[in-house]
């Protein structure tokens, strides 16, 4: 059997993370291996450009358009590509639909895989040990931390993102939003409703 001797180089760096990054960055800058403008561009992308609004648009469109919903579920990667919503950590996507009898919940127990192009970067609770440990064993208890209570008639289906498939929950459309336009529906779709830890709700002020 082969061995892999990856050594613990980090131990020789300052233990305070702020100082540790600074020490690392100064080495990389001295060697000319990073370009600050590229780093700024990466941060700008994930702080300002890519976020849950992308996922919300898809969900609203699926609610408003039955044909689109079918395409989205059956031919997801092509649909996302056509909408320019594919990309890093969303190369292969599966959309799972909540119904009267099934409630879907997404987790990654091994790290923190999350559909970046559709939801942006994950909130820190998604990456927490508690969420990663508990979501597969006691999803209903986890949901109650989010004030989500499910009727006994619904089964919970937890999706553990162990491969490069990323999952997006298609929540049920609230009855009170029926008849609204696709544009109006976008603001009903919450980030948590697309992870499975929440429901869509009326936009604040309505």
């Amino acid at each position: 059997m082969k061995k892999d001797n990856l050594k613990q180089f980090y131990k020789d760096f300052p233990s305070n993370p702020d100082a540790r990054v600074k020490a690392l960055k100064s080495i990389l800058e001295k060697e000319g291996l990073i370009d600050q403008k590229a780093l700024d561009e990466i941060l700008d992308t994930y702080q300002n450009k890519v976020g849950p609004l992308n996922g919300a648009k898809i969900v609203a469109k699926a609610w408003a358009n039955k044909k689109f919903k079918e395409d989205l579920i059956n031919n997801t990667d092509q649909v996302l590509k056509d909408m320019d919503l594919n990309g890093r950590q969303g190369e292969h996507v599966v959309v799972v639909e909540n119904t009267e009898t099934v409630h879907n919940l997404i987790v990654c127990t091994l790290c923190s895989c999350y559909p970046w192009p559709l939801l942006g970067l994950p909130p820190s609770w998604y990456k927490s040990d508690a969420y990663r440990s508990r979501a597969v064993r006691e999803p209903r208890a986890v949901l109650s931390d989010f004030n989500v209570k499910l009727p006994i008639s619904k089964k919970v289906k937890v999706w553990d993102s162990t491969s490069e498939i990323r999952y997006l929950v298609l929540p049920q459309q609230p009855p009170s939003s029926k008849g609204l336009s696709e544009n109006e529906l976008v603001s009903w779709v919450t980030r948590d409703s697309m992870i499975g830890t929440g429901f869509p709700k009326p936009p604040i002020g309505e």
């Binding site: 059997m1 082969k2 892999d4 990856l6 050594k7 613990q8 180089f9 980090y10 020789d12 760096f13 993370p17 702020d18 990054v21 600074k22 690392l24 960055k25 080495i27 060697e31 990073i34 370009d35 403008k37 590229a38 780093l39 561009e41 990466i42 941060l43 992308t45 320019d84 990309g87 890093r88 292969h92 599966v94 987790v107 127990t109 091994l110 790290c111 909130p123 820190s124 609770w125 990456k127 508690a130 990663r132 440990s133 508990r134 597969v136 999803p139 986890v142 931390d145 989010f146 089964k155 919970v156 289906k157 937890v158 999706w159 553990d160 993102s161 162990t162 491969s163 490069e164 498939i165």
Partner: protein
């Protein structure tokens, strides 16, 4: 005993503190770690599976104590160390060829992030299981090629029985790719397990857990 990062089903009585943890970054240094890690990921000195392995391989006590981006930072330093970019102590590698290092330029960021790194491969690989079939998961979830190597087979499903609910084609096999043993694509399936079968006691008899598993993680149900 499962590795520190393999957390699924571990008993944990902590509530999920939503109010105080609904942020992407808790400090500016986390933003730096995130951006540097992504940028250097395009250097092609390593792959995504290798970087996951590097994070998982940090000392277990550190893994459990570190925040999310502290894990990223330690993993990144180890990757840079094994590539001879960082030199400390007597363990240093002397294998860095700067001329072959691709520095990520700002003008390429958008294109590269958009491209991502698809793992589905066209190659036809062995496919022994069909939709709806009951399958067993290997009883041992250790990497079969590398001692204490990387795997995406969680401890909590090893030796368990579930049902094939989706087939995703052939995907790069992390257990090989993380150790530069080639992409070795394998058929990838979604397997649905009854919660009751995983945990004995469960919250609701109908509840299930779906896990994506590669061909060689599975065995015929007997």
């Amino acid at each position: 005993m499962s590795k520190a990062h393999d957390m699924g089903g571990r008993l944990d009585s902590r509530r999920i503190d939503i109010a105080s943890s609904d942020v992407k970054f808790k400090a500016d240094w986390e933003k730096e770690v995130f951006a540097i890690t992504l940028a250097l990921g395009f250097s092609s000195l390593w792959n995504l599976d290798r970087s996951r392995y590097a994070r998982e391989s940090i000392e277990p006590n550190d893994y459990l104590q570190f925040g999310y981006f502290e894990k990223w930072l330690a993993g990144l330093i180890n990757l840079l160390g094994e590539n001879g970019i960082i030199k400390v102590g007597t363990e240093s590698e002397d294998n860095f060829k700067k001329s072959s290092f691709r520095v990520l330029e700002a003008k390429n960021v958008k294109k590269l992030l958009h491209m991502g790194g698809p793992t589905k491969r066209d190659s036809t690989t062995e496919k022994n299981y069909n939709l709806g079939e009951t399958v067993s998961v290997r009883a041992n979830n250790s990497n079969t090629k590398v001692e204490k190597g990387h795997t995406r087979l969680p401890d909590y499903v090893k030796g368990r029985t579930g049902k094939v609910i989706a087939y995703h084609g052939s995907h790069v096999f992390p257990d090989a790719n993380a150790h530069f043993l080639g992409e070795s694509p394998e058929a990838l399936y979604s397997i649905e397990f009854k919660s009751q079968d995983l945990w004995g006691k469960c919250e609701h008899i109908e509840d299930t857990v779906v896990v994506d598993l590669w061909e060689s993680y599975l065995e015929k149900f007997k």
